[in-house]
């Protein structure tokens, strides 16, 4: 049974990180917006829902919805304060945002317990249905990831989705056709924020433990390498990339190595994958667009 549990665990991790990669694909792959705020947004989502669950008596469903709305709002606010910046500078502001969230989570000890982390976060519960065992969580999380995937595919192939892709390719054309590029940008970053905070919620309530290191620079490298491996602007490719990047470094776990070395090698693999793909095929394996 041990080995089954291990596979279920990997599957759950896959579904959580898929959400982050899909979210990044929406903003970078389809929208051309280099949004590095995702780990910060995931931390906000994870902390909001964990703290609300631990400190209030609100039902999980309500907390879930509140956190998602908050994620959308934060993404929307980021789009408002960066509405004149693109390319490099958007990446830098959102990068700084991730670090600010991290520093707050680490130092606002009266609220987040800092580096000690939040233990015993309850498992998800909807109405009377308590999601407790590994298999239940596995099914529930896959359901969510699947719904998100379908929603994104629907969105991207809708007229609005075309506008989102036009944001990447030719912003002027959107304005000429009577749509407001800033509103589309806000929508993209908002949805991206919502999906990242969703990933944060799922992470915290699965592991029942959360600390400021849960999402950070390492996850950013993971997301980017999954995205470039699978391909920008292709959600199926992005999922495949996520899957491969979770599976491949897992083999390291079975080698007799100290844990810091496993972590370091993992990051080395991810960063090498990015460098190699940028070198040979900047679109990614299934990618449709070229950022340069």
């Amino acid at each position: 049974m041990e080995i089954f549990n291990y596979f279920f665990h990997l599957g759950i991790i896959f579904s959580i990180y898929s959400l982050l990669v899909l979210s990044s694909n929406l903003s970078l792959g389809y929208g051309g917006l280099f949004n590095l705020a995702l780990p910060g947004l995931a931390l906000i989502g994870a902390y909001t829902s964990s703290l609300l669950s631990l400190k209030t008596n609100l039902p999980f469903g309500v907390i879930f919805v509140i956190t998602l709305i908050l994620g959308y709002l934060v993404g929307w606010i980021i789009s408002k304060i960066t509405n004149k910046l693109r390319g490099d500078y958007l990446a830098l502001v959102t990068f700084g945002f991730t670090f600010i969230v991290f520093t707050l989570a680490l130092n606002w000890e009266s609220l987040t317990r800092g580096a000690l982390g939040l233990p015993s976060i309850p498992k998800p519960k909807f109405l009377f249905f308590q999601i407790e065992s590994l298999i239940e969580i596995f099914i529930f999380y896959y359901l969510i990831t699947f719904i998100v995937y379908l929603f994104l595919q629907k969105l991207i192939f809708s007229p609005l989705g075309r506008s989102i892709q036009a944001l990447r390719d030719d912003e002027l054309a959107i304005s000429v056709l009577g749509r407001n590029p800033l509103r589309i940008k806000s929508l993209v970053l908002g949805i991206s924020g919502l999906l990242s905070s969703l990933a944060g919620i799922l992470y915290a309530h699965y592991l029942s433990y959360l600390d400021p290191y849960s999402f950070g620079l390492g996850d950013l490298i993971f997301i980017l390498s999954a995205l470039f491996l699978g391909g920008l602007a292709d959600n199926r490719g992005a999922l495949l990339g996520t899957f491969l990047l979770i599976i491949i470094p897992e083999s390291l776990r079975f080698l007799p190595l100290p844990s810091y070395l496993v972590g370091a090698l993992r990051q080395i693999i991810y960063s090498l994958i990015i460098i190699i793909i940028l070198w040979f095929r900047p679109k990614g394996i299934f990618g449709k667009i070229d950022l340069s």
């Binding site: 910046l85 500078y89 502001v93 600010i100 130092n107 390498s225 990051q267 080395i268 991810y270 960063s271």
Partner: protein, 292 residues
């Protein structure tokens, strides 16, 4: 008390200014944000530690670390940056490349040297000077002296020499400089050697003053980057000013805030500058010119 703050500001500020100068010199000539620069600089500290531990004389160790870092810099340029430069890769691609390279170098250090803090042992006794209730160690005096003198040398060689004129022409109008017969690749190589040397000095001074940790690289990159943004990324002396200002703000903040917030202050300054004054304190261009 205030004297001690000023002394400390000169120590940290001098270091930040030095690294920031190399950072913005690289940024302005290579036209991409070198997110790997901090990790690269820390390599020099680790090399010195390594040469020390095999009982090489201290001075020889320092010279060897300089050489190794310059060779490493040239290798990175020859095998990686040059290819992307020839391909005229877009700024987003270069940003991702820099980020991946930084993570790669940092985790390489972690994999080789492990997560424990290493300290560089000195061949002489570190005397402490006490005056007016403040203290200053010999090493700190050396740090201040070397960083200040190196800043002056760099400043004059860029603004007062013929060679500096060539570099500045390459920064302000690369195409025109090439038409007028500047050998671009040759200048690139020389700048790389020079910035590698700055990185080596900065990394070694940092290692001696604060000890070595694999994650110090990212920390240093963020400080350098924030300093450069404060002074204006495209204005070289600005980064020196930014470095000293950042050092001063950090040391002042310790008086009012818990010391854990010292790093948080950096991110908040970075964030505020990116949003409200992305061209830095001396920048003339407005936000609008950054879009598109």
């Amino acid at each position: 008390m205030i004297l001690q703050v000023i002394i400390n500001s000169f120590i940290t500020g001098g270091l930040y200014a030095l690294i920031a100068l190399g950072f913005s010199l690289l940024y302005n000539t290579f036209k991409f944000i070198p997110f790997f620069y901090g990790a690269f600089a820390i390599f020099a500290g680790y090399f010195l530690y390594l040469f020390n531990s095999i009982n090489l004389p201290f001075s020889l160790g320092i010279i060897l670390s300089f050489l190794v870092l310059i060779i490493l810099g040239l290798l990175i340029d020859f095998f990686l940056l040059r290819k992307f430069r020839e391909r005229k890769a877009g700024s987003v691609i270069m940003l991702i490349l820099g980020l991946a390279l930084g993570i790669f170098l940092e985790n390489l250090l972690l994999a080789i040297f492990g997560p424990n803090i290493k300290s560089i042992s000195l061949p002489f006794e570190n005397i402490t000077f006490n005056f007016f209730n403040s203290s200053l160690t010999l090493i700190q005096l050396i740090v201040i002296f070397i960083s200040l003198s190196f800043l002056v040398i760099t400043f004059f060689s860029i603004y007062k020499s013929r060679y500096g004129l060539v570099i500045r022409s390459l920064i302000s109008n690369p195409l025109m400089a090439e038409i007028l017969g500047v050998n671009k690749e040759d200048i690139f190589r020389k700048i790389l050697i020079f910035t590698s040397l700055i990185a080596a000095i900065g990394g070694i001074l940092y290692g001696i003053e604060y000890n070595l940790e694999p994650t110090a690289g990212t920390n240093l990159t963020i400080k350098a980057f924030t300093s450069a943004i404060i002074g204006g990324l495209e204005f070289l002396p600005g980064s020196i000013f930014g470095g000293f200002l950042l050092g001063f703000i950090e040391n002042i903040s310790v008086l009012f805030l818990p010391s854990a917030f010292k790093d948080g202050i950096t991110f908040i300054i970075l964030f505020l500058f990116l949003i409200f004054k992305p061209k830095g304190m001396f920048g003339k261009k407005t936000r609008e010119e950054m879009s598109g």
